[in-house]
């Protein structure tokens, strides 16, 4: 892409990332959640992949980072769900809600300003799903944008 596109992408990239992480972390207070925030972050990654040349961007966005994000997210989600079995009553029981400590503030029915320290395991599950979606969608983008180009090059050389 041209220099204007890559400069504009460099300028926009941190804002897209911050917006995505905001959506993930405030999933239990404002519209959005893990899936939507992860999709926004993956859009930022796709923007960087589209705006720069492959050999400039490959050392920064490695495949191992996205692989680790996806696996850690899914394992964290299943681990939190199984912890409900041991600390509470059932699978995926909200064992942190309404207990003083991490994310355990009481919330009453009605309109309130909202505090980050509420929600039990919901913020943690949001972070887990956000990590997983960010890793998965970025990995799909990475596969398509790197290997499809190689396939095209091989085809032209073969002919």
């Amino acid at each position: 892409m041209s220099k204007i596109v890559s400069a504009a992408a460099d300028f926009l990239y941190p804002f897209v990332m911050i917006f995505g992480f905001y959506i993930v972390l405030h999933g239990h207070l404002t519209p959005g959640g893990g899936f939507q925030g992860g999709a926004v972050i993956a859009t930022g990654v796709a923007l960087m992949f589209a705006a720069h040349r492959y050999r400039d961007i490959a050392p920064i966005f490695k495949k191992a980072i996205f692989n680790t994000c996806e696996t850690v997210g899914l394992v964290l989600f299943i681990g939190l769900a199984f912890a409900g079995l041991f600390y509470g009553k059932s699978f995926m029981y909200n064992w942190l809600a309404r207990i003083p400590g991490l994310f355990g503030e009481q919330v009453s029915y009605g309109v309130n300003p909202g505090s980050l320290d509420t929600g039990g395991i919901i913020p943690l599950l949001n972070i887990a799903v956000g990590l997983e979606v960010l890793g998965a969608l970025s990995l799909v983008i990475y596969y398509l944008l790197t290997y499809v180009v190689q396939m095209g090059v091989n085809k032209h050389h073969g002919q």
Binding site: I23, G32, G33, Q36, V40, T43, A50, L144, V148, G152
Partner: protein, 82 residues
């Protein structure tokens, strides 16, 4: 006023949907699909579903357009004549 906006957006949805189907240049078709996703996201927001609107704007207008444009660039750009 509310009804006018709804009618405007819904007719825009039908128009962009037909454009996706009838345009012969596949790159133009991908851009029309991005416009379709954006109008869909606005419609979800008006119907008071901001969660779905964010997901539609992120995936439909962002990721799908990138993947489709990449697919068009590495295959053929013109749709084959029947």
């Amino acid at each position: 006023m509310d009804l006018a906006i709804q009618v405007l957006i819904l007719s825009g949805l039908i128009l962009t949907g037909l454009l996706v189907f009838y345009l012969q240049d596949l790159l133009h078709s991908a851009i029309a699909f991005a416009a379709f996703s954006f109008l869909m996201s606005v419609e979800f927001y008006i119907l008071q579903a901001p969660d779905v609107a964010i997901a539609e704007a992120g995936i439909g207008a962002g990721l799908t357009t990138a993947i489709l444009i990449k697919a068009v660039r590495s295959t053929t750009r013109r749709e084959f004549d029947r």
